[in-house]
Assembly symmetry: C2
DNA sequence: ACCCATCATTATGGACGCAAGATCGTTTTT
DNA sequence: AAAAACGATCTTGCGTCCATAATGATGGGT
């Protein structure tokens, strides 16, 4: 393999992965702090201790980096939510309830994650819009799979209902991120669970 | 008054209002079509048949124009929704149902409005974020006022519930805007009304 | 009183500086 | 010698400003 040679004790792949990782962590903080539009590539490179050129060896541009940061947040959240659902008792209602609780507590555990996932996603171009839609689909899929077979509802109807659930939870978290006095997490969870239970008839 | 003089049959105020109006209509189409980030001020001026300088006599920048476009959309929607609620029978459930129906049908009557209100708002800077929050508050206020006195629910709880409703409807409309085969409006209305009825106990 | 020259006001288009993205060459480090 | 950092460079779009053209008011000559 033409794998270059070692440098500072790392192989070429390790160096690339290391720079990518530093850019991701820097972007995680800067995008959530100053915001996507206010964060220049220069600042990202400075925060990650990386040269201008190296940036474009890791990502094609600012949007691409934003996409990577967002995808990581979504993946982590999907994993932990799926885990919480799997550990809950095998009752659809309780499992969804556990999933909602885990989503809200996990996402708000790091305010940067909540802000990126619910506010800054929509700042970048249309590529990000598509990625957000993909994430929304992933979450609706989790809901529908957990529900299992639901009585007498058309599948499309169920899908729209799941979409509404995702939108409701998102708006509650936007409120948590933006409000001067954010509402207690327990209230958010209670509200989301309430909407879910009533809407799906549990 | 130092009101300038007439020019092409219009007073100074009329000319300013005319340019402002042309910029608003041009932005209404361009922001909804190519998107906020892809629409340069140069294109806006060309579409509105207006000089570069005149632009900054009407708006402080691209974000300011976006804010004006968004505010107009929200105001029109608020008015027509309030009117529909006022004309509905004085039953809270039916009034909210009429409001939801009017919101979805009115907003989707012009795809540009739906796209601007639910997608492009979030593209601009933090100023727009604040404006969107204001609009969300306006809609939750309409919901809460229409509900009137609700049995045994804490007010904060009701507010979070209204927020969830707004978020659910928004996500449904995002689906309508972005999906390759948008769901029928009747399904969206049915879903939103269902979530509302169940969540508020009607 | 009418008409045309002249001037003031208004609008347009382009020129300019600036900031940031993206690419490339040079120097420094390993 | 390979690899990374740094700076230089080009492009684009924002925001400001100036020179030019278009329009309306003013005044003198007939």
């Amino acid at each position: 393999m033409a794998t270059g040679r070692d440098y500072r004790g790392m192989t070429a792949e390790q160096r690339l992965a290391d720079r990518r990782e530093r850019l991701l962590t820097a972007a995680y903080t800067l995008f959530a702090g100053a915001g996507f539009t206010a964060t220049t590539i220069e600042r990202l490179c400075a925060a990650a201790r990386i040269s201008n050129r190296a940036f474009y060896e890791c990502f094609t541009g600012r949007e691409d980096l934003m996409r990577a940061v967002y995808d990581r947040c979504v993946q982590e959240t999907l994993l932990t939510v799926a885990k919480a659902i799997g550990e809950a008792p095998p009752d659809p209602a309780r499992r969804i309830q556990a999933g909602i609780r885990e989503y809200i507590t996990f996402v708000t555990r790091d305010a940067r994650r909540a802000r990126i996932m619910h506010l800054e996603v929509r700042r970048a171009g249309d590529i990000l819009t598509g990625h957000r839609q993909r994430a929304v689909t992933d979450f609706t899929t989790i809901i529908e799979e957990t529900l299992g077979d639901l009585p007498e509802d058309l599948p499309e109807w169920t899908h729209l209902l799941s979409l509404g659930m995702v939108g409701a939870i998102q708006e509650l978290l936007i409120e948590w991120v933006l409000a001067d006095v954010p509402p207690p997490l327990e209230n958010l969870i209670e509200t989301a669970v309430h909407i879910f239970r009533r809407s799906f008839g549990y």
